[in-house]
């Protein structure tokens, strides 16, 4: 599913803030818990996985496809087809309804639109995923900015799962939530990801959640691995 060959990535040309990783693999359907102190490069790793940035050396492949082998436009299209993203917060377009926000990925990906046909079309699929994320139906037609932060995160998760992309990337999806809500959200996200058959890579500070994932990556340890090779 995800195949990382030893890579180096530096934000600046001077070579500071370097991320250096050894070989890593994630198989389809696995859930990965990615943790580490602030500024250690977790978001950078997500960017590499999503093909938004490319490593200076080494290789990141998704579904056997090397990101670097694609032209920028192709990367955008490939990402739209196969990757769903959940940010820390501000995931939604405030001026669209909840339902319209969830349907958005189908606007940009024919593949995901197609997959929704099996469920009866994007609208029905969106309703299904909102239900799986425990969003009450009376909220679906509300403007997105009328929801609480916790509700917005669940809508974002539903949207990421639309059309069952192979990879879900979640960048600290619970850090804006109260402790009481984190557990609920993680439960829903993990269950929904399994339902979709997608792979999940979730960045989080919340160590309490770690054991519920198939794989735990501590980024500083991954960096060390590179140092040994």
């Amino acid at each position: 599913m995800i195949d990382i060959e030893p890579l180096r990535y530096a934000w600046t040309s001077a070579g500071e803030d370097t991320l250096a990783l050894g070989a890593l693999q994630v198989s389809a359907g696995q859930t990965v818990f990615l943790h580490g102190p602030s500024g250690c490069g977790k978001s950078t790793l997500l960017g590499l996985l999503a093909g938004v940035i490319l490593p200076q050396s080494g290789r990141v492949s998704l579904l056997g496809q090397d990101w670097a082998a694609l032209r920028p436009g192709q990367r955008d299209a490939f990402r739209a087809d196969h990757v769903g993203v959940v940010f820390q917060q501000f995931n939604l377009l405030p001026y669209l309804s909840v339902l319209d926000n969830v349907v958005l990925p189908c606007r940009f990906s024919a593949l995901r639109r197609e997959r929704c046909q099996a469920e009866g079309g994007p609208q029905v699929a969106a309703q299904n995923w909102l239900q799986r994320m425990a969003m009450p139906a009376e909220l679906w037609t509300r403007r997105a900015d009328a929801l609480s932060v916790g509700q917005q995160q669940r809508v974002a998760a539903a949207r990421a799962l639309m059309g069952q992309p192979e990879l879900i990337l979640a960048d600290e999806p619970t850090s804006a939530l109260d402790a009481a809500l984190r557990q609920d959200f993680m439960n829903l996200l993990l269950q929904a990801t399994r339902d979709a058959g997608s792979t999940l890579v979730c960045v989080s500070h919340d160590a309490a959640q770690a054991t519920r994932f198939d794989v735990q990556w501590a980024l500083p340890d991954l960096q060390q691995m590179e140092a040994h090779t």
Binding site: S43, L46, G47, A50, V52, I53, P72, G73, D76, A77, R79, A80, D81, V85, F87, F90, N91, L92, L93, P94, Y95, L96, D100, V103, L104, P105, C106, R107, F108, S109, R112, P122, Q123, R159, L169, D171
Partner: protein, 426 residues
């Protein structure tokens, strides 16, 4: 499912409190340009149509433009006079059909007084050879009995509320007078005719006979009343009132082909330094002078439009940072940079089209409401008619320029979303 256009529309609507000011500024700039273009056109047309059917204007040798200004527009100071002998000599030229002498120099409450003959109303035409029409009453008789008769233009009648039979007195010179102390108050005139509106300087003119002007000035010398030499109105009829000098003469020819012949005859007339001016040519020259001001006006409004386009660009650019989140979200759900580019360009186009459309509407309504005021206070007649091709061209130019201007922010957003990747570092 929301299309890109739908997202752009909702996004713009979401920021309407900012965008509305851009739309307003665009609308005002458009309205300004739109109105100015109409005004320019109408002024030019009414200007070009202020005299027609006159082949030559004859006056003492001076500047053609000055003669034109004076004899047709009744503006400016009196050029030198020419003798009636010369006028009669011109009238006797075999190609000349008619001659109408004109005498100017007095006024009534700011409106110029034109001394002429009854033939003036027969021969003078405006627009496309439209003759003057007497709306009520008749033209002055030109006889001694009707010596103190006046025919007034439509605007004079309307502005001053004059009807037939109204008594008026004239003032010396072309300046606005203290109405209670008209210089020629001793010889009042009676309004016997009111002309139909023409949209030309005729509307603003009081017409009297040449003999009446002579009568007014019998007891004047050197531009002031002769002390102790007052001649009452009735007494004046006993004097010889045939004018010796006039300020200009309108000439009509039997065939237009003879115009250069007659002009040469006039210009080479030996007894007096004369000048024959073709109205069309002089109008062209005059317009060339006025055109400078016209072009300056146009340049200023073009600048206004440019400034409002820049303000559009500035507002959109300033808003981009706030929209970084929004663009990142769009990128996260699969929108490529080209979608971002399209979104911004679409929004810019809408804002511009709305602004321009609103501006056109504003201008049309404004002109419809303001036309009577403009006619009354400035004497500019606005046509309430279908927009001119040049007006449409202006509107389209603004739209195109605006679309071009909106590409700037769109390009920046495109670069920004490329650099930001999935998570905006803002």
């Amino acid at each position: 499912m929301s299309s890109l256009a739908g997202i752009a529309r909702l996004s713009a609507w979401n920021r309407r409190s900012t965008l509305v000011w851009v739309v307003i500024s665009l609308a005002l700039a458009t309205a300004l340009l739109w109105t100015l273009e109409r005004l320019r056109h109408d002024v030019r047309v009414s200007f070009a149509q202020s005299v027609s059917g006159v082949d030559l204007i004859v006056g003492a040798r001076s500047s053609p433009v000055q003669l034109m200004l004076f004899s047709v527009f009744h503006i400016g100071s009196a050029p030198q006079v020419l003798s009636m002998d010369s006028v009669r000599a011109v009238a006797q030229h075999r190609s000349v059909s008619w001659v109408v002498p004109l005498s100017l120099g007095d006024s009534h409450r700011g409106y110029p007084v034109l001394g002429t003959t009854p033939a003036y109303f027969q021969h003078f035409a405006y627009g496309d050879k439209q003759p003057l029409v007497v709306q009520s009453g008749a033209v002055f008789s030109g006889t001694l009995d009707g010596l103190y008769e006046a025919v007034i233009g439509a605007e004079v009648a309307h502005q001053l509320g004059y009807g037939l039979g109204q008594q008026i007195t004239l003032g010396h010179g072309l300046h606005e007078h203290d109405h209670d102390h008209e210089d020629h108050a001793d010889k009042p005139f009676q309004v016997v005719g009111i002309l139909a509106p023409t949209g030309t300087p005729v509307d603003r003119t009081v017409h009297v006979s040449l003999q009446a002007l002579e009568a007014l000035h019998l007891d004047w010398a050197g531009g002031a009343p002769m002390p102790g030499g007052h001649i009452p109105a009735d007494q004046a009829r006993k004097f010889d009132l045939e004018p010796v000098e006039v300020t200009a003469a309108l000439v009509g020819l039997k065939t237009r082909a003879a115009v250069f012949n007659v002009q040469r005859f006039v210009n080479q007339y030996e007894d007096e330094a004369l000048m024959g001016v073709m109205p069309g040519v002089a109008l062209g020259e005059l317009w060339g002078v006025l055109g400078l001001g016209e072009n300056a006006l146009l340049a200023v409004s073009a600048l206004v439009a440019l400034v409002s386009l820049f303000s559009l660009m500035a507002v959109v650019l300033a808003g981009l940072n706030e929209r970084r989140r929004e663009l990142a979200v769009l990128r996260a759900v699969g929108a490529g940079p080209r979608h971002v580019l399209g979104l911004l360009a679409l929004e810019g186009t809408w804002v511009i089209c709305t602004g321009v459309l609103l501006g056109v509407l504003l201008a049309q309504v404004g002109m419809a409401l303001g036309a009577p005021w403009l006619q009354n206070s400035l004497g500019i007649r606005l046509q309430i008619a279908a927009p001119l091709p040049t007006q449409w061209a202006l509107a389209v130019t603004i739209v195109l320029a605006g679309m071009l201007a909106s590409l700037g922010p769109a390009w920046r957003a495109y670069r920004m979303s490329l650099a930001d990747g999935l998570s905006p570092r803002a």
